[in-house]
């Protein structure tokens, strides 16, 4: 029968080993050749866009990279999506939403009116474009292979 000492060894040993593996995998996945975070394409504009994204807690309603609050649309490939919807005018539509002085409310659900400047809106769009280029291991808005075929046809 397991003794208390053995149980403690299992806890301490298991924790140490898994934590070391975890650190090792973190280093591995972020090392050159294995890193797919799109860091090489980060520009000053993208970083400014990320800061605007963060300082307004956009994730408190939207999701990005699948993370957020599920109250407003996923914005990972928002430029592509709006380009399809508005005949290639996606970026302009996005900027006008961000610069609007009155709440944008498609289908009745209100967004905060941020009234951004042209530069700020452009930075946020750059941020979205950078996000859209990340290799997400197959994550997309429509993921079922069958559905992809049906919708494309």
């Amino acid at each position: 029968m397991l003794s208390k000492k053995q149980a403690r060894a299992f806890f301490l040993g298991g924790t140490l080993v898994t934590f070391l593996i975890f650190i090792g995998l973190t280093v591995f996945s972020l090392s050159e050749g294995n890193d797919q975070t799109n860091s090489e394409n980060l520009t000053e504009s993208v970083v400014r866009g990320k800061n605007i994204w963060e300082s307004n807690n956009c994730m408190g309603c939207h999701t990005i990279l699948g993370e957020g609050a599920y109250y407003a649309p996923e914005l990972t490939k928002v430029v592509d999506r709006l380009n399809l919807k508005y005949d290639g005018q996606g970026e302009e539509v996005l900027k006008s939403i961000l610069m609007s002085e009155v709440p944008w409310q498609p289908n009745g659900r209100k967004m905060v009116a941020y009234g951004m400047t042209d530069q700020e809106a452009a930075d946020v769009v750059e941020f979205f474009k950078w996000i859209g280029e990340i290799d997400l291991n197959g994550f997309d808005r429509i993921v079922s292979p069958l559905a992809k075929d049906n919708i494309n046809n």
């Binding site: 924790t15 860091s39 300082s55 309603c61 993370e67 109250y71 659900r109 559905a147």
Partner: protein
């Protein structure tokens, strides 16, 4: 109650209850906004309500854990707390930091990082606060007559929780890296070190309530927290499948997070078995309800519902949908909300000397809160699955889908009302116990 200084726990629990009520209030604001009633949008837009809701959750649970530690550690270490005055300073500073953060959220002062919205300058105050708390607990423990496994596991959980807050304070330019290290805090808290805290409190309660030998309970405590870390640390990978990092995490996260329910299963079996083995019939049945309830509900909410969308093949569909909210609500409630309510139910009669053990109000509170929360979980689950089908399979627009599933939020609000009624009854019971008193020292437990 054996030591006068344990009374400080009462005020941490009272703060907990106050913040829980506020958290629920903001939950209702979000629920109503989802069905089209967002009249408060000008003052409390959804992102404000959401940040307040989740941050208050963290603060009320932390306040509950701290109260638990202030109650448990003196009794386990067999000595008074080293400084009651400093414990009150810590309580007040915790409340001040919490209030300042929440008020700031209403004025666009925050960091839009899910669960960690508190701005960095305030983060430093959180660190100072937690250091003070840890100092008081650890000095009391090591100056005490004995260092039990229960006390060590609880203190270790609290210490690691503090250390793991630090990666969340690192600044990153990349959204992916930001998210990657944010999960070091959030995941390793809730699916790692917080389980040590939960295990420590559970072990203390089972020793007191069942009368089973401490050595037996503490041995299994080690096995359970061992399983938690063995699966939970590498299980962090389930947050890394689709955020822009290497595929290695799909394999590692998939395998280890699939094992995470084992720790919760072990915890549920452990609690139920100890109850069956126990020969002591402690009169505080309500505390027993909450204790066994926490062990079982955490297995369902955190273990089973977590497993339901943790495999990468499933998560590809459910990532970024309301399915996450389904799992999140029952997991936090079962594992952490209920364990805090367990220790409150156990310790209140001991601190106040009023043995309101067997009230109908207490039992109603337990059942209404739990049935309400299960109903809310089902409502989120149905809404989430419908969202997955309509969006990810049929390609419908996000907002069209939201309209289709809005009926489930009506159900959510009805169930949340039942849940809230249970919580109100619990708080009435809390109030009826009165204030803690030194006279309670003489009353046997």
């Amino acid at each position: 109650m054996k030591y006068k200084s344990q009374k400080v726990a009462y005020w941490f629990f009272a703060l907990s209850m106050l913040l829980l009520v506020l958290q629920i209030t903001y939950g209702f604001i979000m629920g109503f906004a989802r069905i089209g009633f967002d009249g408060l949008h000008e003052f409390i837009p959804f992102n404000t309500a959401r940040a307040v809701h989740t941050n208050l959750l963290v603060v009320w649970l932390l306040s509950g854990f701290m109260g638990a530690a202030y109650y448990i550690i003196p009794e386990e270490a067999q000595r008074e707390l080293v400084s009651v005055k400093l414990a009150y300073v810590q309580l007040i500073s915790l409340a001040v930091v919490g209030v300042v953060a929440v008020v700031g959220f209403h004025f666009n002062i925050w960091e839009g990082r899910k669960f960690l919205e508190i701005p960095r300058p305030l983060d430093f105050l959180v660190v100072v606060n937690v250091l003070l708390f840890l100092g008081l607990i650890l000095v009391t423990l090591f100056k005490g007559k004995r260092q039990t496994t229960t006390a060590l596991v609880l203190s270790m959980g609290l210490l690691f929780a503090a250390l793991l807050y630090l990666p969340g304070m690192l600044p990153f330019d990349s959204q992916t890296l930001d998210s990657f290290f944010r999960w070091w805090v959030v995941h390793l808290w809730v699916e790692g070190v917080w389980e040590l805290i939960m295990g420590g409190i559970l072990s203390f309660l089972l020793i007191k309530l069942t009368g089973v030998d401490r050595e037996v309970i503490e041995k299994w405590l080690y096995v359970i927290v061992g399983l938690t870390f063995l699966s939970g640390v590498l299980g962090t990978g389930h947050h890394y499948y689709y955020i822009g990092v290497n595929k290695i995490w799909i394999i590692v996260g998939g395998i280890f997070s699939a094992l995470e329910p084992l720790a919760f299963l072990a915890m549920a079996l452990f609690a139920v078995n100890m109850y069956r083995k126990g020969e002591k019939k402690h009169p505080n049945k309500l505390a027993l309800y909450w204790t066994l309830g926490a062990a079982i509900t955490s297995f369902v909410g955190a273990g089973l519902l977590g497993f339901a969308h943790t495999l990468p093949q499933t998560n590809l569909y459910t990532h970024g949908t309301l399915v996450t909210a389904m799992h999140g609500h029952l997991a936090f409630w079962g594992a952490y909300g209920m364990i805090v309510l367990s220790i409150i139910s156990y310790s209140l009669p001991n601190m106040t000397g009023r043995k309101l053990y067997d009230s109908n109000r207490g039992r109603m509170a337990f059942w209404m809160a739990n049935i309400g929360m299960i109903g809310m979980t089902v409502a989120f689950g149905v809404a989430g699955v419908a969202q997955v089908y309509l969006e990810r399979k049929f390609g419908m627009d996000f907002m069209q889908v939201q309209k289709e599933i809005s009926i489930h939020f009506v159900v959510l609000i009805i169930c949340a009302t039942l849940f809230t009624s249970g919580i109100i009854l619990y708080i009435i019971d809390f109030y009826k116990h009165g204030k803690p008193t030194d006279e309670a020292l003489e009353i046997s437990q």
